[in-house]
Symmetry: D2
Subunit: 309 residues, 4 copies
């Protein structure tokens, strides 16, 4: 009751081509806090206002992209139940042992039909920031080191069969559809936004012929003024901006899309609305697809549909 | 799973001393949209971005204050279940027939130990704003008529035995404690903030010797700049401001407290954070109670503890 | 002493292809206040916070562009003196009689070497807004009707021989150079920004082979949040955006370039700094020309150099 | 012509009771950049976006307050001329030799009838910040160290005979009156705001029985969001806030008044408008004096009229 089951996006495991470049970017430019490295050479980060041990895990690899995207669930019992229900639904699952990710309990992996690996887990260590719990200030010095997002917010993934992905997230994981863009036929979904919370999106998918692609991992900023500051910092560091600052029609959020040094798109965004599962999903028609994505330009840039990792 | 059970604050029924003054204030200055009047003379409003028929109900009476505060639940089955569980918990309930409030289904009333009347309901008509669902713009002309809050957000109520109130909201209604202020003894709660969502508060209580008192009903604004605009509009309309613009330590929200023409305090606020039930509640100690409430002044004004309706 | 001589940009006379479309745009979308029409069919506007009778004059014509750009000077004596000094400097001047523009005194016209017509005048009627002088509110309902800029701020003009234009504005009119972009040779100016005030620019020029071209007329907004609102309103009205919201490196201003229905570019901007004549001009080198114009993208879009009216 | 004569406020010399406390406050909390100390033990600061060597000079003394407030003029010739005209006007002047203040040329001191010492000077060393002149970024790391105002903006001084002060500033120094508050009689000025630029105030005076008193020295911030950040930093550092965040009716600026550790009031403000000498001064009547000063509360707090140093 209230908020139960799947609680929130908890981690994104991102492949980078050069770890030294990547840690400079994620640590100094994006301004995440490095919280650990593991025996595989993976580097862990959290955003300044997150309460769990980490949310971003970088792995050096020959190709950029996303290894997996994980959600925290409210208990081990829920984890076990969702594993069983996922198997009953017909998707393949596997277990990753506790400790494989630093300070993280057992994870259940699900291969969804878009080709992505979604993880569920119930246990992760707490962030080492007690000053933010007892008489907490509204922000601290970490809030102004680099772009300094508040948290990992969501991911937008590209792959096929997104209507089946939606079916699984809704029927098994308890998500609901908040917005969608329809294609020319007025029926087929080009893109879907799904939430397990009051947020306008905890995960989103765009229909795409190649499976298992990453469009972007998204980080939350506090205000439109912080979006400007983020764009300034990107310019100061010669980060390649794909689009923005602008507004999305979908979610109303104000946004910048840009690329990490490995070519993984990331988003820094602010705003949007809070939503509820009993609300009708907002629906964008094909003639308004430009405004749905880039509200000010009212047209897609080619990179939106084509450049993924 | 995900968001279920109690979804959100759905209505506040406020007593006003003079309906003509009140409708000028709520309709023109606060900028809510009048959506109906009933045979009892009650006047109904919704905020521009709300999806349900109404959220504020005004009733003319000899004393100001709040008649009841209602929460929308996800289904009639949930309503029935929560009624039964409330009775089993030992609180008295009653049913108000469908249609007593315009476009609203049956309501279950609960008399909680702080003396307040809390309502639960599963059905309410939709707002007549289709343009906000299909290819919706991020805002419209109603967003700039008066103060124009986004929605009714929460209420802060004053009464005794708030630890028992918390116990009921947590055990039966599925809320969780997000923040608290402790008294000199380091144990007794002076104030509690409770959520059934990602919001930092859906309802809050302050310990007070008199039962059934209203401290404020709160309305959400989009940004700190809109808080400034709200304060400007209050001044232009000679609305009495109690405090602000300032920031709360609790919830980090930026805020103004002011009074409607009947003396009911209301809040227009922005900001804050999104929270989860697995997080530790933020705790403010007695020596920091000033900063907890008014972060900039670090001291309570006498009205905070004494002026209620 | 203090501020004397040429005080500020006072009017821009813009050619539009269709007056009905134009008045809808300037009056309802941009949100200027129509203050009069004259016997030539010209339509006059002022921005909500301007103190003079008008600042924008529209004339229907077969080609878009700017007829003239005028500056208010502090007295008739100054007007006479500047006319004489302009003639002595070697530029051709002419007089336009009082009343040719509504509520405007005699104007001195100067044909500058870039091909543009610059006007000077000492007398113009006051805006009919007494409520903004006695116990004035910080803003009023006109501030939220359409984009609602604060004022006409400056113009950017394209033409040849801009170093000679600078010489005239500095030596005769008392302007000073605030910023410049240099070409590949490190010497030739690609663009110059000139001020007669504390503003980062009262007029600016870009070197261009065709004379007498308009790049944009610019309107001031209060904040970056108002820039977002302006972009939203442009989208709602399907106004074609050229670039933005973004930041200029030059002046630090945050900005949108867009086109009126006749294809005249206009700018809505906010921010920037206040400057003084004893400061060194800020200088941008050729390798940073992209950042100078569009700070976030760090690259010019082709339209910047090519699309003028 | 254009901007000539007196250009801007250039320095404020403030007396502090304890230099160690003061340097912590001005350097770390307010976030000015320490640029030197002289043989008298005075400590010099500039704000991050200022172009001259320093703007604030602290001197340890037995009483708080202001020693002098200085204006930069455009040339030595102007300095000589203003000295002569001041003497001819009937005010006493004196010369302070070059080098008495670090990197500062000869200063002309004027004892004005309100009891304050006003200085004029033509020469001061440049700030050591070349990176802000060639391909300058819009801000840098100093912009986020402490409150980090953009510049010293103005001072508000308390003393008698302010109509005579106005007469001198207007007739000799070339200032103009931008706003005024009138007393009950509708004629006597309670307060005056004077500008030598486009700024709404370069200096201001309130009528007061004691001569030579400081109400506040004021520092400019970029935005209302930076005003919030300033208030947060004040709270984090337990700086005593007198009033705000709020808006002034006069100048429209958004503001906080607070006290340095010695009890000198300072202001951090943002916003306001740009004004011109040919505009009518804005006039506030006695019944609106509350709104003139504190636009939201519409009432003076007692400290405004009584607490000065």
């Amino acid at each position: 009751m209230g908020m139960t089951g799947v609680l929130r996006p908890g981690h994104a495991a991102i492949r980078v081509l050069d770890m030294k470049e990547a840690t400079h970017f994620y640590g100094e430019v994006l301004g995440l806090i490095e919280v650990g490295r593991d025996s595989y050479g993976r580097v862990y980060y959290r955003a300044w206002d997150e309460r769990d041990h980490h949310s971003i895990v970088l792995r050096e690899a020959d190709s950029a992209g996303i290894d997996f995207f994980g959600f925290k669930v409210d208990s081990v019992a829920t984890l076990d139940r969702l594993e069983a229900e996922t198997q009953a639904y017909g998707l393949k699952t596997s277990r990753v042992p506790a400790g494989d990710l630093l300070q993280t309990g057992e994870r259940v992996r699900v291969e969804i039909v878009s080709g992505h690996t979604i993880e569920l887990y119930a246990e992760k260590g707490k962030a080492n920031s007690p000053q933010m719990v007892d008489n907490p200030p509204p922000w601290n010095s970490e809030s102004e080191r680099g772009i300094a997002p508040i948290r990992l917010d969501h991911a937008l993934l590209y792959g096929p069969d997104i209507e089946k992905v939606q079916d699984y997230f809704v029927k098994v994981l308890g998500f609901y559809l908040t917005e969608q863009i329809l294609m020319e036929d007025g029926k087929t979904q080009l893109a879907i936004w799904l939430a397990c919370s009051n947020k306008a999106h905890d995960i989103a998918f765009v229909r795409h012929h190649e499976p298992n692609k990453l469009h972007h991992v998204s980080f939350l900023l506090d205000t439109w003024e912080k979006v400007l500051r983020a764009a300034d910092i990107m310019s100061m560091n010669k980060i390649s901006i794909d689009m923005g600052p602008t507004r999305h029609g979908v979610t109303r959020g104000t946004t910048i899309y840009a690329f990490d040094p490995s070519g993984n798109r990331f988003e820094t965004f602010s705003g949007g609305y809070q939503t509820y599962p009993d609300w009708d999903p907002l629906t964008w028609t094909w003639d308004e697809v430009g405004a749905a994505v880039y509200y000010h330009d009212r047209a897609l840039n080619p990179a939106f549909l084509e450049v993924v990792t």
